[in-house]
Point group: C2
Chain length 519, copies 2
């Protein structure tokens, strides 16, 4: 132990000792001692983002793939504010993050200097745990506690606020994070109740969520389905869905309320394994918030924070299904490479045909990607990461973290043009870190989803002023220039043939490549 | 009154009726009825931002120039989160904003859909007033209340949360905003105390803030200085400083702590007129938070929310100074147009020589602009807008609002490259709205200020990993491509001669023009 280290060093060493090996940063003056400590401590990879939404989104993607928390480093209340939207998404995804936010020195706060703000107040809505560290001597203890919280299933947001003098004052020893409790096993009674629900006749759905959509869990679900005849479904959004050839296929609940209601129309039994009972993404006049019929019985097998894999295995045992082959396994069935004009079906076919083995698909394709599932089911096995909190601007940052959290795997980012704009600075970090990310920007020059939503809420056909608020035209963003500006190579696809050649070019590159898909 | 209008329409009509004529928007599904209402209500200018920090920063700039609030329209908790940093800056600037944030329908919140968050919790740290409107019948009443709060001196942040069903349900009547109380006059005793403080001998400083740095107030200060021999100073940052030829000049408190302490070293009397007693922007080891000596007497003449102009006039009366000519008026003294390599002094000379009459300078030049004051003092009269809350990413959005709030005046944006990155999407809005903004991006490819701060906090010379966190190189942003990507014309200045020609080109344009100043 180095008794001469300052608080910042004791914190950085505590992070590294506890296997927090990546820090996504956008620092300011109050964080300079933390930055200085990085030079003196080995084992921390620091990744700079030019905007805090990049930083927090990257930490989300990192957790989803590495299955352990990264830390962030943010500058006071406003810097944390800039990171809130992607912290919200990470919180809804169950991604653990050790969020470190600088603060004025403890004695300086009372002077109400320009950057003074209620940092704890900003942090609280998007954090599971918030603490302002009171002393340089104990900042490592607080850091260890934050790590323990971030590791708690299904992954939590721990925000540690670090006053400048707790960074520059004399530090204590390196601290081991308290042990994280194992995911709780569900009891036998719960297993038996779920078995009973699925044994019945009629339309029964096993709805999977959380880590229930990973390969092994899906296989148990496939055996349960083989035995009981239930259907297997996944939530509309999933933090990390393992799919493609060789994996048990799930039906994703549709976004559109009417389609979701139709899916559950005849369902008599719904068994939840890491999933929530389905509700509409938004409320609409005359449409229900709850998507299952009042007559549908709901049985909770296991919560998202509990041991989902063990619960599914125990359920299979209870049902006598362990010896069965899982049903619903996708076969290798790559679509033919298509040609002709750009269509949603055609784009899906390009993905299905060309997605490389173990690709990580980060999907914020919003309206364009609604129909991508069918033609990618038989693609090479891959992971599919959805936007969990609904706040757009997630895919580019999350792709950064996914690439760093799973080196050697290709990241394919499906991105709406409107969504890309929120955290466009991500491109620079991809370029600096030479990340293996191929980005498809679906350029329809509008918030296309909102044009649908405008009608859905009963707005009718938008007039001129409303249309202006729903479109990104005048001027059309020029994605090739934007990419070039941030140091990322780019190409343009105007039909399926050019999409195929551009996508192949991206896949062949080991660094970032952006394709403007002109819709 | 239209009794068939829905809640959203009643709110939009209430805004327009109360002279809230601009809405900066980044809407989502829950705000579609508000957007739909815009088609049916005349008199509201809607301006789309592709990121919420653009929206809130624009509202700040609008208030500073138009002296009345604009409204924003933001999408739920995360959308508000994205706008928080520039709301923080606006709050510190005393800019009034009617912040409208959509929320799920009242009955939908309990279902915890993906976008559900504690919106009031997110709003509170950066708002003076927060209310979730409970009913479509009373949303106009709440809107009127929000307007009244936003108008309160010196301008406040009112956040109205608008559940979707309060927008689509039946609306009430249009509501007049309650009258805003006039700025409070300070009492005679306070005037006499300030007069006594300034009448003494020794080093006396009248420190101006808020609207105390506008032309008329400065003239009263100039008369007071002529009578008493006191010095006139302004805070380090000012929401809108009127300066240039014909205006009474002020000395701005320096950013650097040592320089600020030196400025006040011999001060015996400090009189505050809309200003706060000076404190350091950040704390540093071994440096003081308070910048005046313990022996300096501080007398508060008038608070930032009170009638500063009347207080200065009354003080001049009390001192018998009303008949005197103000001292310290800047003469027309434009520097010669310089030539040679780019230096801070040379850039200042270009600005001093070429700033057009009534230009609005939005200054986020951070390290590059520290020395711009001297050579621009004799420039054509202009307004100078500073970053008030210290959260970078303010100048591009604020320039949007300033241009819309003061049509016919040229906006000149002085922007660091690091700062520009946070809200770079602003360029698109400038292009769409054809705003008359000339932007100088000082491209030093680093957070230059942090390189100084690293040493200031005792970090010594940054090593490789720390340096990487302080630099924007590898890759260097290509500002011409970035501007092109967002539809903004641009040029590059590599020496003072090309800066002059590029700046002239920008000034001759009536739309946005970006100059990459390669440092």
């Amino acid at each position: 132990m180095d008794s001469n280290q300052n608080g910042a060093e004791s914190l950085v060493r505590t992070l590294v000792t506890n296997d927090v090996q990546v820090c996504f940063t956008n620092p300011g003056t109050s964080e300079m001692h933390f930055v200085a400590a990085l030079d003196r401590v080995e084992g921390m990879r620091c990744v700079l983002g030019l905007f805090e939404g990049v930083v927090t989104g990257a930490a989300d993607g990192y957790y989803r793939m590495a299955e352990k928390p990264a830390s962030t480093l943010l500058h006071l209340g406003p810097g944390l504010g800039n990171g809130l939207a992607n912290l919200h998404n990470a919180k809804k995804a169950g991604s653990g993050i050790v969020n470190i936010v600088g603060e004025h020195a403890t004695y300086h706060v009372k002077h109400d200097a320009p950057l003074t703000a209620d940092i704890e107040g900003v942090a609280r809505p998007m954090s599971h745990w918030v603490k302002t560290s009171p002393s340089s001597k104990t900042v490592a203890v607080d850091g260890a506690q934050a790590i323990a919280v971030a590791r708690e299933a299904p992954g939590k947001i721990a925000t540690l606020i670090l006053p400048a003098d707790t960074a520059w004052g004399p530090g204590g020893d390196i601290v081991w994070a308290p042990a994280t409790p194992a995911r709780k096993k569900v009891d036998e009674k719960t297993i038996k109740a779920a078995a009973m629900a699925l044994r019945g006749s009629g339309d029964r759905i096993l709805l999977l969520g959380g880590v229930g959509v990973r390969t092994k869990a899906l296989e148990w679900a496939g055996r349960i389905a083989a035995k009981t005849g239930c259907k297997i479904a996944a939530e509309y959004n999933n933090a990390r869905l393992e799919r493609g050839a060789g994996r048990v296929q799930t039906t994703r609940i549709p976004y559109a309320v009417d389609a979701a209601v139709t899916m559950f129309r005849d369902t008599q039994q719904l068994v939840l394994a890491g999933a929530k009972s389905p509700v509409s993404f938004f409320a609409y006049p005359e449409k229900p918030s709850v998507q299952i019929p009042a007559t549908c019985a709901v049985t909770k097998l296991v919560g998202v924070e509990e041991d989902i894999l063990a619960a599914l295995e125990a359920l299979a045992h209870e049902l006598g299904a362990t010896h069965l082959a899982p049903i619903g396994i996708s076969e290798h069935d790559k679509p033919a490479i298509p040609t002709g004009p750009l269509t949603q079906e055609g784009i899906a076919a390009v993905l299905g045909a060309l997605l490389p083995e173990q690709a990580i698909v980060v999907d914020e394709s919003v309206s364009t990607g609604r129909g991508f599932a069918r033609l990618t089911t038989g693609a090479a096995p891959h992971d599919w990461l959805n936007l969990m909190g609904g706040s757009i601007g997630f895919a580019l940052p999350t792709s950064i973290g996914a690439a760093i959290g799973a080196p050697g795997r290709k990241v394919v980012t499906l991105e709406g043009d409107g969504s890309a704009m929120y955290t466009i600075q991500s491109l620079w970090t991809m370029a600096r870190e030479s990340l293996d990310v191929t980005i498809l920007v679906f350029a329809n020059r509008s918030y296309q989803i909102l044009r649908g939503e405008f009608a859905n809420v009963g707005g009718g056909k938008p007039g001129k002023r409303a249309t202006d608020m729903l479109t990104l035209d005048r001027p059309d963003p020029d994605w090739l220039s934007i990419a070039k500006g941030f140091g990322v190579e780019a190409g343009r696809a105007t039909d399926l043939d050019s999409l195929v050649s551009e996508f192949k070019r991206g896949l062949a590159s080991s660094g970032p490549y952006l394709i403007e898909v002109v819709l």
